[in-house]
Each structure stands twice: as C-alpha cells, then as structure tokens.
C-alpha cells in the first residue's frame, strides 16, 4: 500500500468516526452502537497506519493473500452485526405488536364503560401483561367510539 492509499484509508476511517459521533450527538443512534462502531474503527486504525501489519497477521493466520484477510474479517464482523440487528428488529416488532394488542383491548374496555359514564381515568383494574402498563387515563382519539 502506498503512503497515499494509507492516508486515504485513514481519512475515510476518521470521517466514519465523525459521522458516528454526530449521530449520537443528535440522538439518532444509541450509545451502544457508538461503542461498537468506534471500537471497530479503532481496531482498524493500527492496520492502516503500520506498514506490514496486515501481512504479519495474514501469515500468522496462514492466509497467503493478505487482502483476503481483510475481507474475511470484515465479512465476519458485518455478519455478526446483522445477526444482532435481526434479533433487535424481532424484539422491537414483537413489542410493537404487544402494544397494538393492548391498545385494542383497552379500546374494548373503554367502549364497554362508555355508555354509562364518560371515559374516566380508571384503567387501574385491568391486570397488565409484562412490559406493558395500562395507560393512566389514556386517551386514544382513533380508538373505538361508543354507540
């Protein structure tokens, strides 16, 4: 790798770091991911800066073609991260579904009470599922209206 290429790669890495920091500052990314991506950048930097680092690592692992080492590691890390995201996504979706179901059930309860009295803030008697608390005096404009 020429010095110019080295400098270019380093610049790209630093820009990535800055982008990540900015996302976190704007609260568009959780600090967890700041840790993940930052540590990846930090791990990458020595290999960019030190000439021969990749070659040394490759020969230690037993890979004859050093660029293959870079691709191998990169693919492996990205693979792990996307598995992690799949899990997070599944969990989020499940929670959203539970919220939707709870909302629908609250709507039934409210419309059952509505004919007698105004929808008062008395959702206390409904026992709740884990993670989801019945809203205190929850007002849902798009919900079921009484007859």
């Amino acid at each position: 790798m020429t010095a110019r290429a080295r400098l270019l790669t380093l610049a790209i890495t630093l820009v990535c770091l800055l982008l990540i920091a900015r996302q976190v500052r704007r609260r568009q990314m959780r600090a967890t991911y700041l840790v993940v991506w930052t540590s990846l950048c930090v791990v990458a930097i020595p290999f960019i800066v030190i000439p021969g680092a990749i070659d040394a690592l490759s020969s230690w692992i037993g890979i004859y073609y050093p660029p293959a080492t870079v691709f191998l590691l990169a693919i492996f890390v990205l693979f792990l991260i996307s598995i992690h995201f799949s899990r997070q996504l599944t969990r989020l979706e499940e929670r959203t579904r539970i919220l939707a179901e709870e909302l629908a059930l609250l709507g039934v309860e409210r419309s059952a009470r509505a004919p007698a009295e105004a929808p008062a803030a008395s959702a206390g008697e409904a026992d709740s599922r884990p993670n989801v608390r019945p809203g205190e005096g929850m007002v849902q404009p798009g919900s079921v209206s009484g007859p």
């Binding site: 579904r97 939707a100 179901e101 909302l103 629908a104 059930l105 709507g107 039934v108 419309s111 059952a112 409904a126 026992d127 599922r129 798009g142 919900s143 079921v144 209206s145 007859p147």
Partner: protein, 242 residues
C-alpha cells in the same frame, strides 16, 4: 355445560360479509359472547360490528390473523372465559359446526379443529397449487407430530382454557404459521388435539389473503420453521430420556 364461551372473529376489511356472519351467530348461537378483532381494516369493519352490538377490539394496524387471534386470547384470559372459538368473518364457517366443536371440547379435547376433509364433511374445492401445498404441509405435520391431520389450514377451531392461557403468549404471528405452526405448538405443548368434520362454504365476500408468489415464500418459510422446531423437539426428548 355452562362454561363461558367467547367467539373470536378476526376481521380484516370484511365489512361486506361481517354483518351476515354476526346475524347468523346471533340467531344460531346467542348464548356465546362475540369479540370481533378488527385487524387494522381500511373499511368500516369496526363500525359494522359495533352496529351489530358485539364487542370490537380495533388494532391500530394490520397484524395478520395470528396477531388478531392472540388479541382475542388475551381478551379471553382477562375476562375469564373457559372456552374460545375461532370463527371466520367471511362466512366460510357454519354455526352448526360451532356446537360440534364445543361438544368435542366438553368430551375432553383441548384443541378442536373443524376439518373440511375428514369423512363426514362435504367436499370443498381448492386450487391446484394451494391443494398441493396443503398436502405437503399435512404430510410434514403428521411426520412431526405422529398425528394425522386432514385439514391443517382450517381456521375453524375451539380452544380450552389451558390452551387459551398458553396461546395468549405463544401464538405464532406470521402468515400461515397461525394455522399450521399453532397446531404443532399445541401438540408439542402436550395438548390433546382433535379434528371433527365440518362443512365450509365458499368465501361469501372479500378476496383470498395472498397471491401465489408470496404464498410460495410463506410455505418455504414455514417448512424451515417446522424443521427448526423438529430439531428442538428431538433435543428436548433426548434430554428427557437421559
């Protein structure tokens, strides 16, 4: 038997067929409570159901039949129902079948599936692709459970209280899983699953839920899920044997 019974009707854009279904329920089975779960419909499904005087749970967006059913199960748990029946909003199911299903529950079954194909039910026509796929699923399921199911995709089912409790948390939510995978789950959880013959009509209104290409995807996904569950099952039984 005097057990409180809830009829759960998942409905997605069924304003055309729902009034007739609710009317036949009221005429043929007035002793049961009805909960329509409006699965994020764009039309007047909720309004139509409210006008018919039944309870309506309105989901803010579409969750699929599985999600709608789970909402119904949660409602049943909270309000202390002893039995629940899953009933279609599109007029496929017959009120007479309801009593047959519930009678089987009283006879000790915990999940009762109304089957179109078991001897005693009238013929029901399906397309070639759907029919073939149904055969594959049927075969896989009997391979995995050791039980013989004739109608794995039937949406006409009755559940006892322990099953309602179980499914209020564990009901599978994805398309097709809500029928086939739920049967497998019920079997694996050790519930007594029984089929009874029922007559089903052709859909009275509305369109079938999915196109062919998506259907193929869902069948493949389901087969993978079943395979994954089967391996889990083997590990579990091996551990129990040890």
């Amino acid at each position: 038997m005097d057990a409180r019974t809830l009829v759960i009707i998942p409905a997605f854009n069924e304003e055309d067929s729902l009034p007739a279904v609710l009317a036949t329920l009221r005429a043929g089975a007035p002793q049961y409570d009805v909960l329509v779960v409006d699965d994020g419909s764009d039309d007047r499904t909720s309004e139509v159901a409210i006008a018919a005087g039944v309870q309506v749970a309105r989901l803010p967006f579409n969750l699929g039949v599985g999600g709608a059913l789970r909402t119904g199960f949660r409602f049943a748990v909270r309000h202390g129902y002893e039995r629940a029946v899953q009933f279609d909003a599109d007029g496929q199911h017959d009120v007479d079948g309801l009593d047959a299903l519930l009678a089987e529950l009283d006879g000790g079954a915990e999940v009762v599936v109304g089957s179109r194909f078991v001897k005693g039910s009238e013929r029901y026509r399906t397309g070639a692709l759907r029919g073939g796929a149904m055969n594959v699923l049927r075969f896989t399921l009997s391979l995995l459970t050791g039980l013989h199911f004739t109608d794995t995709s039937s949406g006409f089912r009755a559940y006892s209280r322990p099953v309602i409790d179980y499914f209020a948390d564990a009901y599978p939510l994805e398309y097709l899983s809500d029928t086939v995978e739920s049967l497998l789950l019920a079997c694996y959880a050790g519930f007594n699953v029984v089929e009874v013959p029922v007559t089903m009509r052709e859909r009275s209104a509305g369109v079938p839920s999915t196109r062919n290409l998506r259907l193929i995807y869902h069948y493949i996904r389901l087969l993978l899920v079943l395979a994954a569950m089967a391996s889990l099952r083997q590990r579990r039984t091996a551990r129990n044997a040890a």
